[in-house]
């Protein structure tokens, strides 16, 4: 078939052309929607082109037929084409088929990607190629875009941060598109300027200087290429930076040979998170395609960044939630531990085990080396260690802290907990403590607002206890206080019971001893005298009957001489005298016995008279002189008070006579509306008062008990070699000094 390409045929139109030639297949070529042409296999000149080619490429048929295939290539691709063609000629490549995708240039200069399919034909007698040129630019672009996006997406998603993500983007884009250099800019944390955030690895060493300048630069919104992209939130293209006055780095650009530039903002949620600019080594008009690709990438990057942020946020929230939960659990654990300090199970333990267990738990909760519980003494004046862990018990046995003295005493007095950062720096009552414990905290144990003891913890090494720690200690203290108080009360009760038992026993003993004494005195002294009296009476009886003394016989003679009568009378009289004396003696002894047991004047006359009476006898008996001072005791008091007062004085003076080794004692007795007081002082040998009051000797304990029973108190201040001072105070309950009714 012959296809003419003469201009003559042109006018006839395509259809008529075909009709004219009468070739039905001609339409396949001329009307084919895809551009097709036929080229000379040697010269590559266009021999024929179809309508689609003309329409697509913009050249007219005449223009086409005047060109070769080379002319529709971008100049830089021509050598590749020629090589390919050469190979073709050599028949190395297949006879027909796909030549792959090449770049063509339209008349208007637009570059397109074209998928070439060809086959050799014979045309007008020449060896020719029939070529089908399918414009796959869009597809290609799309593919390219997709591929690029994919690879970038993958790379970015594994990137650690925005900076490395940007790096990936820059590297990949430059690689894929052939742009020479890319730079990334990010807003500074204060958001006022853009700062350099990295660059692609410019292959050319010349870029080094350009880059150095970039590293130092910052841009305000609207300033410079990146700054303007930042402000406008849209890409900015500069065809040739060397001629662009606004480009500051133009001089360096000139050095490096960079010409075209584009800055693309990366948006995340409408906020510019980065600006990437690309540079090309030749000037170029705005390549919308390229910008589109980069923008798409930027969008992806933006989304990725957003997602990253969201993930980061979520991770942070999760972290915070986890931390909060951990804290709550820790607090719950602490609470459980605090509760466990006094849980029900402890109730079954013996006192000491209970304390030990509690202290062990307290040490764990507060992470302390030492924990101690101190209890308030019965009289409420000092604290002593009841139980301790972490310290040698022996060391703390004698610890006595008066309320208000030292740190511990201060805590108890103020009823406020306290931290001591360094015990070695403060004055303590017991320096040895400072050696064992370096830092500590103490909290008062309070029951109904009153101090019953103190809880202390300490560490061997210095530690800064916090307010929170102190709060925890006080919590624990509040928790254990009732238990501790219970222990204290139970022990007090036990001690009270023991004392009671002891007193009861002693009382029984004393009663027996006294009965024994009375029995003996009655038997020995009174009995003796009564016996002698009996004898004397018998003798008198005999005398009366007439029996002469000496037992000489004889009956009641009627003719008794006067002499004998007189002798008898004399004998009787002397016997009677004797008897009277015996009776007198007896009387005295009986009275004495009675007085010793209980002087009647205590009931009849009152305290003062009985004391005066007692003192007289006492001095006579013991040679100990008394300095007696008194005021307000002339009247009567209740029998219990008078008796108790008398007995206390009696017992005290007995002790002085027995043990003090002095010859003078001072006795003071006074009374007012409220109480009756007794004070006895000697400068004698002294004794261990505490041991006496709680020990087996019941004399003093008995006195204390008497005072106690009346609601009063008795204190003894004495120590070996330092004399003795006894003070008793008995409340008078309003019925003070009942005066003797006057007559």
């Amino acid at each position: 078939m012959q296809l003419t390409t003469s201009t003559r045929g042109r006018r006839r139109g395509k259809a008529s052309q075909a009709r004219a030639s009468g070739d039905p297949y001609r339409l396949l070529f001329s009307q084919n929607p895809l551009p097709m042409w036929i080229t000379d296999s040697e010269t590559l000149a266009f021999l024929a082109v179809n309508e689609a080619a003309v329409a697509h490429y913009g050249y007219s048929r005449e223009e086409f037929l005047a060109m070769t295939v080379k002319d529709i290539r971008p100049p830089e691709d021509v050598s590749a084409l020629l090589d390919y063609h050469a190979e073709l000629q050599k028949a190395v490549l297949p006879a027909s088929g796909s030549a792959g995708v090449w770049r063509h240039r339209k008349k208007d200069g637009t570059l397109i990607d074209v998928d070439i399919t060809w086959s050799p034909i014979s045309f007008e007698g020449r060896q020719a190629y029939l070529i089908l040129a399918q414009d796959v630019t869009e597809r290609r672009q799309a593919d390219e875009k997709t591929r690029l996006l994919q690879s970038i997406t993958t790379a970015v998603s594994v990137a650690e941060d925005v900076r490395s993500a940007l790096g990936v983007v820059m590297a990949q884009v430059c690689q894929a598109t052939g742009w020479a250099l890319a730079e990334a800019w990010v807003p500074r944390p204060d958001g006022k300027r853009l700062e350099w955030c990295g660059a692609s690895q410019g292959s050319d060493e010349g870029f080094a200087r350009f880059r150095q300048v970039a590293e130092r630069s910052t841009f305000a919104p609207g300033e410079g290429l990146p700054g303007r992209a930042w402000a406008s939130k849209s890409p900015l293209w500069i065809g040739d930076i060397t001629t662009e006055s606004s480009f500051e780095r133009a001089p360096w650009a000139r050095e490096t040979g960079l010409k075209a530039a584009v800055a693309v903002p990366v948006l995340a949620d409408d906020e510019v998170v980065a600006v990437i600019d690309f540079f090309l080594s030749e000037p170029r008009e705005e390549d919308k395609r390229f910008v589109g690709v980069v923008q798409a990438i930027a969008t992806q990057l933006g989304w990725l960044i957003l997602r990253r942020r969201a993930e980061e946020e979520r991770r942070r929230l999760l972290e915070r939630e986890r931390a909060a939960r951990a804290e709550a659990e820790a607090a719950l654990e602490r609470l459980r531990a605090i509760q466990s300090v006094t849980d029900a199970a402890l109730a079954h333990l013996a006192m000491d085990d209970l304390l030990r267990e509690m202290l062990a738990r307290i040490r764990v909760i507060l992470a302390a080396d030492v924990a101690s519980i101190l209890l308030l003494s019965e009289d409420g004046t000092f604290l002593s260690v009841r139980a301790t862990q972490g310290l040698d018990e022996e060391e703390t046995k004698g610890f006595r802290v008066p309320i208000g003295r030292g740190i511990t005493g201060g805590i108890a007095a103020r009823r406020e907990p306290m931290i001591v950062d360094d015990l070695s720096k403060v004055e303590t009552l017991y320096p040895s403590l400072g050696e064992m414990v370096r830092s500590g905290m103490g909290a008062p144990l309070l029951v109904e607002g009153q101090v019953v003891g103190l809880l202390g913890v300490g560490t061997r090494r210095p530690r800064r206890f916090t307010e929170e720690d102190l709060g925890l200690l006080q919590l624990v203290a509040d928790r254990v206080a009732p238990t501790i108080d219970r222990i204290r009360l139970l022990e007090e009760a036990r001690k009270g019971r023991e004392r009671l038992e002891m007193l009861s026993r002693s009382l029984v003993d004393l009663q027996e001893a006294e009965r024994r004494r009375i029995a003996r005195e009655l038997h020995d002294e009174v009995g003796q005298l009564l016996t002698s009296l009996q004898l004397a009476l018998e003798a008198s009886g005999r005398s009366l009957a007439g029996a002469p003394q000496g037992g000489r016989g004889g009956g009641a003679g009627l003719d008794d001489s006067d002499q004998r009568k007189q002798a008898r009378e004399q004998a009787l009289r002397s016997q009677m005298e004797e008897m009277k004396e015996v009776v007198s003696d007896l009387l005295a002894r009986v009275r004495n016995l009675s007085m010793n047991l209980r002087p009647p004047m205590l009931d009849d006359l009152g305290l003062l008279p009985v004391l005066l009476w007692h003192f007289e006898r006492y001095t006579a008996q013991t040679r100990v002189r008394l300095d007696f001072q008194h005021t307000g005791v002339a009247g009567r008091f209740s029998p219990e008070v008078e008796t108790a007062a008398f007995r206390i004085v009696q017992e005290a003076l007995t002790n002085v006579a027995r043990h003090a080794g002095v010859d003078e004692v001072k006795v003071e007795v006074w009374a007012d509306a409220v109480c009756l007081g007794i004070r006895i002082e000697d400068q004698g040998r002294g004794f261990d008062a505490e041991a006496a009051l709680t020990g087996p000797s019941i004399g003093l304990a008995g006195m204390a008990e008497r005072a106690h029973l009346l609601g009063g108190r008795l204190t003894i201040d004495s120590a070996p070699e330092s004399g003795t001072r006894l003070l008793a105070e008995l409340p008078l309950g309003g019925h003070a000094g009942r005066g003797a009714s006057s007559g």
Binding site: R405, A413, L587, P609, F628, W670, R679, A740, G743
Partner: protein, 220 residues
């Protein structure tokens, strides 16, 4: 002379009464006009019979001898009382005398002494059994009178501290703070000390403190 002294005897022991009666009947100028076995009876008889002398035992059931003495002196002032007692203690003597008795006779004394005591009492004079003496009585009275007792000396150290601080004007709370004791303890001490020294108001306290020189000199 020649006047008969009428006597009522009061003692809860019949034996003693009989013995006394015998003794007194032997005296020509004594007439025992009544006997009582307990205190109430004694008072009653004295009131009714108005004897010159009532001889009464100190220790009797019901109303004791001292009470009998007092009542008798009240109701029948003309009757002199002679107290009979086994107690030789000055205290009893004083009390008996204070109650209005004219004479105090020890039970161990001789009959003659009792007779003498009754005679003296009837005459309106005082008589004390020989072991007893006026001197002893005086000594006793002296001893029994209030001595000047410095109660300040009987205060404990702590009480003195509280007193000083209170005199300076500190409140109980401030005192507690200063001494390192609980406020309750401080208040207790304060009340106790004030009571012991008989101080009822701040004015009393300050006056006391000034008198004793407890307050420091006035600051410039």
């Amino acid at each position: 002379m020649g006047k008969t002294t009428t006597i009522v005897l009061a003692d809860d022991h019949q034996v003693v009464r009989q013995g006394l009666r015998l003794l007194l009947d032997a005296e020509p100028d004594f007439t025992v006009v009544g006997e009582a076995a307990d205190g109430l009876q004694a008072v009653d008889l004295s009131e009714r019979l108005t004897p010159n002398v009532l001889v009464v035992d100190l220790v009797m059931p019901g109303l004791g001898g001292l009470d009998v003495t007092r009542r008798c002196r009240q109701r029948s002032p003309k009757t002199r009382v002679v107290v009979l007692s086994m107690y030789a203690s000055d205290a009893y003597v004083i009390e008996a005398l204070r109650s209005g008795a004219s004479a105090y006779v020890l039970k161990g004394s001789s009959a003659a002494e009792l007779v003498l005591a009754i005679r003296e009492a009837a005459e309106g004079r005082r008589y004390l059994s020989s072991p007893l003496s006026e001197k002893a009585i005086e000594t006793y009275v002296r001893e029994a009178s209030d001595t000047h007792l410095d109660l300040y000396q009987s205060l404990t150290l702590r009480e003195r501290e509280v007193l000083h601080l209170a005199a300076e004007g500190l409140s109980s709370a401030a005192i507690a703070e200063r001494l390192g004791i609980s406020p309750r303890t401080a208040e207790t001490h304060r009340t106790h000390v004030m009571g012991k020294l008989g101080l009822h108001s701040r004015t009393d306290l300050i006056r006391y403190a000034l008198k004793r020189g407890l307050l420091p000199a006035e600051p410039e």
